[in-house]
């Protein structure tokens, strides 16, 4: 045996052992889970705790509406074991990144909305039944997604399936308690005079869950501003229906909301789309609590003004 063999063989063995150990450590570290939208970060963080790593696909402050994919997104995507997507129109750019990164056939996807019963966009002047993709601005539809994600992650990581499911149940109750907090603020308040319109269709799920029907939507589709004629018709509808509250987007301001407020005299309140800022485990509950607080304030203000 040559001297080089004496050195190389133990070295190769050592490298093999180190790689095996590294692979084992990676398994122990759990899945690397990609997410496309802020609420999904919160959902997954509460489901997996410290037993998996979460990788947001796009930068924290990027606007997911009309997002243009970046080279870094492709690099991030190649590191993921699984990617959780909205899949019904709110993160279409993720599929462009999948194709561009060349992992469309290999990266496993979890469609968070698989088990959600969808609703149409409310107040669309066309009368068409267009699917509303904002299932994450809600409590019930959000809980359904939490269960779907927990179940499908459990299938990919069976050792932690029970842990994921128990966490999902705990988190679902935490989300449900938001409704109780809302109820404490509006219990006994007369809602008969409350009539609302929304700047876009993002709040249909939560408003419907609470039993608050939407009279008109100014911008049914994201980024597609109404024509002058459509805007005039909408203002007419708002006035005819005696709408007194307009919900607008908190982070993505639109000059149209000011136009409508000036034309109709409605009171305007801002709701978060939960689509901007740092990715945190608490973000969804924190922003939904704020949203429900805003809704409660709009209801009590309207009741006070009607006295």
């Amino acid at each position: 045996m040559r001297l080089s063999d004496l050195i190389q063989r133990p070295l190769l063995g050592l490298v093999t052992i180190v790689l095996a150990f590294a692979a084992g450590a990676a398994d122990a570290a759990g899945l690397k889970i990609g997410i496309t939208l802020h609420p999904y970060y919160s959902f997954v963080a509460n489901i997996v705790g410290d037993r998996a790593e979460i990788v947001p696909l796009i930068d924290a402050n990027a606007n997911p509406h009309g997002y243009a994919p970046q080279p870094n997104d492709m690099i991030r995507m190649t590191t993921m074991d699984v990617l959780i997507v909205n899949g019904i129109g709110h993160d279409a750019w993720a599929f462009e990144i999948l194709d561009a990164a060349g992992v469309a056939d290999t990266l496993q996807l979890i469609y968070a909305n698989d088990g959600v019963s969808l609703i149409p966009i409310a107040g669309d002047p066309s009368g068409e039944k267009i699917v509303n993709p904002h299932t994450f601005i809600s409590t019930t539809a959000a809980i359904q997604q939490v269960y779907t994600i927990a179940r499908q992650l459990g299938e990919r990581d069976p050792d932690n399936a029970t842990y994921f499911r128990n966490n999902a149940r705990r988190y679902a109750l935490e989300i449900r308690r938001l409704r109780s907090e809302f109820d404490e603020k509006v219990v006994g308040v007369n809602l008969s005079n409350f009539r609302c319109a929304t700047m876009h269709s993002g709040y249909d799920y939560i408003l419907q869950e609470l039993g608050l029907q939407v009279t008109a939507v100014i911008e049914p589709r994201h980024g597609v501003e109404p024509s002058a004629r459509q805007l005039a018709d909408t203002i007419d509808r708002i006035e005819a229906a005696d709408v007194n509250v307009l919900f607008a987007e908190k982070y993505f301001a639109s000059r149209l909301s000011d136009t409508i407020r000036e034309a109709t005299g409605v009171n305007m309140y801002s709701i978060s789309h939960i689509s901007s800022g740092e990715y945190t485990a608490e973000k969804f509950v924190s922003e939904m609590r704020e949203n429900l607080g805003t809704l409660a304030r709009a209801i009590t203000d309207t009741a006070d003004a009607s006295r």
């Binding site: 959600v116 969808l118 109820d183």
Partner: protein, 215 residues
Amino acid sequence: MNAVTTYEVRPAGSRYEGAVILLVTIAVVAVLALYVREQGRSDDVEEIFEWQVSAFATLTGADQAIYNSLYTVAEEIPYIYDDINFSNAPGEKFRWPSIEDFQYYLLPPFYKDTSWEQNGSLQWSLYEPLPEGEMQGSTLYLGTDGQLPGQGSFLLVIGHVHAGFTNNNAIVIWWNEANHVEMPESGFQDGLILRGWREVVPYSGEQEVDRIYGE
């Protein structure tokens, strides 16, 4: 001054030009029509049977909200069943959650809060036709007598294999356009359909993904 002479100049192929343009136009339209038929978006989002009703296309407002809550409840009822029977004493009969249990879990559409009132204050009751513990036939939750104009009634059925249902603990949600309905005697499909009940089917995210990206 010379007299002006007028000549009419006609293209060499004028006899056929109109016909050729017409044929090309027809061909282009035909190809586009074929493309739209094969690749275009369909507005028919779902196909359902006569004895079913679409939560997406037919139910509206409060009834749609109630159905969507029930749809998520179907996911949670088995968990709650495990919770409430977890510490049963030996021989103690297993039971399905009562309406009171749902209050503890803050579970809409049963939980009586402002949203429940806004969505019509349906009166919910539980019925177990064969109350024999684990061997009960089916479990029925009826919600009826809503306060909103035109509001229907809901029935959530949990069927069990030993009682003749195809899938054990399969949960099916039914809707009846009548505002007041008596509790059915059983949760079997045929009897319910005869009494005006229609199975509610969701338009799910899975179907929408298939529509957008193909199966």
